[in-house]
């Protein structure tokens, strides 16, 4: 016979195990605060439990060569890999991670959005696979007017 307390303890243990395997349902995870506070590509990957990212031709990042207004820079990220997560990063922003997309079977791994950029910087698209491997592509975007301070 189990007491309520033991049952609760066990479910906490199981939840912890699930979380550490990364199998926990993605929408049940809390906001990835650590990842959004990380400063570099490697730190973001680490915060998301992925291995160190490797450059890959199967990932594409899109954006203008020169952005006149750093407050609205159109960026795209896409991959032909079966990625679990697709990220967009701006290296020299106060925190590098801009957006994280959780990919399901029903959407293509191709996303577009607009980001703020404080200064000219490399922009990364990162694909994180189910097994934690990470691949990236990068592109330099020059900004003539920053969009973070003011």
């Amino acid at each position: 016979m189990q007491t309520r307390r033991e049952t609760l303890k066990q479910s906490a243990v199981v939840a912890g195990l699930l979380a550490s395997t990364g199998l926990f349902p993605q929408h049940a995870l809390a906001y990835q605060k650590a990842a959004f506070e990380a400063k570099t590509l490697a730190d973001v990957a680490k915060a998301l439990g992925a291995s160190a990212p490797v450059e890959s031709k199967d990932v594409t990042v899109g954006g203008p060569d020169i952005a006149e207004n750093g407050a609205v820079v159109p960026l795209t990220a896409s991959t032909t890999l079966a990625a679990k997560k697709v990220l967009i990063l701006v290296e020299k922003n106060p925190s590098a991670l801009v957006a994280l997309f959780n990919v399901t079977d029903s959407v293509e791994s191709s996303f577009a959005t607009r980001a703020k950029m404080g200064q000219s910087s490399d922009v990364y698209a990162v694909a994180i696979m189910a097994d934690g491997k990470a691949f990236y592509a990068k592109k330099e975007v020059k900004v003539t007017l920053g969009g973070c301070g003011g």
Binding site: Y31, F36, T76, N93, V98, F101, S106, V107, A112, A115
Partner: protein, 103 residues
């Protein structure tokens, strides 16, 4: 309460391209007001998109996404007449859901 989103979903073949324009301040937490005080961050954290009630994509955003955010993604297996709904939640707990029909 925030203004409605503008959602356009266009089918081509067995896919639909969804474009969403949200109305949100997306304050980065880096700016200072005229008195020199930092304006607190206020931005959309979670975005969820569903096709006919089934979640197809979730996203997490940081404050670096632009004001009045734009988002584009492609849903597989969507056809004309299907319902796409998009929901966002910001870091102040405010949220909004809007729906559009694939055309």
């Amino acid at each position: 309460m925030a203004d409605p989103m503008r959602i356009r979903a266009q089918a081509s073949g067995d896919k639909a391209t969804v474009r969403v324009l949200m109305s949100h301040e997306m304050e980065s937490g880096q700016r200072k007001d005229s008195a020199g005080k930092v304006v607190p961050a206020w931005f959309i954290q979670d975005v969820t998109a569903s096709l006919n009630g089934k979640v197809v994509m979730t996203a997490e955003w940081g404050p670096a996404v632009s004001k009045n955010p734009f988002l584009q993604f492609v849903v597989k297996g969507a056809k004309a007449g299907d319902k796409i709904s998009v929901n966002w939640k910001d870091n102040k707990g405010d949220s909004r859901t809007d729906e559009a029909t694939v055309s």
